[in-house]
Amino acid sequence: MNIKILPTILILFFCLIFLIFYKGLKNSNIYTPQSYLEIDVPVFVLKSFKKEDEINSKDIFKHDQFYLLNIWASWCVPCRAEHEFLMMLNNNKKIKIIGLNYKDKFDNAKNFIEEMGNPYFINLIDKNGTAAIDWGAYGVPESFLIYQNKVIKKYLGPLNDKSYFEIEEIIK
């Protein structure tokens, strides 16, 4: 009796393993971090482009206003592509765009803005990339839509037509 149970268990076991691999190997291996929404805006103190002194995050984010925090850099090619959408969004009075300049040279960043236009209400400087990690970002560009001190939507990669209209729809 024992001998008969064992092969069936083994066969079932291998079937299970086959199924796991059959499903598992088809999955994509590239992982994008889970986006935890409704998280509080991280608290930070950073230097900005205009002023020498540091800006506290508490002074920036007001309760009843939409904000888009955009992580960008002059060396980032997709940032160029998304810039026109930021300029378009800037026409909407209901949203303020805050730039987080990621690991950039100040002069290059300034040239970038002069050339492409400045959609940013405030431009913060993240020289060593640690502030971006507070936001849970891992690349440029990334954008966070903020309302009532909470991140309500996160965009990995450059903004496009679809995300632009989505943002317009949300802040209406």
């Binding site: 024992n2 001998i3 064992l6 268990i9 076991f13 291996n29 590239i30 992982y31 971090p33 889970q34 935890y36 690991k103 060593n128 990339g129 640690t130 971006a132 990690i133 507070d134 936001w135 849970g136 891992y138 690349g139």
Partner: protein, 122 residues
Amino acid sequence: MKFLNFFIILILTLNLNISKAKADVYSIENKITKNIRCLICQGQSIYDSDSEFAISLKLVVQNKIKQGFTEKQIYDFLSNKYGEWILYDPSFNKNTYFLWLLPLLIFLIGGAIIINKLKIKK
């Protein structure tokens, strides 16, 4: 014989030095950075990687250690931001029961098979 004794003592003292040197290399910072996955170059730890993201993250870990965060607090901080996947060593929770208990299960099944065989031989 005297020469041999001297030699053994010499080797022992040198060994002690090695273990001390190793303890320095495997500092808490290295231990933590080796356990954190680089999200840009997936498959590498941030300890191994030199991507912009990894460099920043190493800096963050350094700062956190300076601020007095424990290893676990740093892991919690990062998995809050990026999800559990950023840690190489998965924690024991309801999603990972199967992962952690499977080797034990296989071991038990293997043991059962061996006992079965022995019984049959008898």
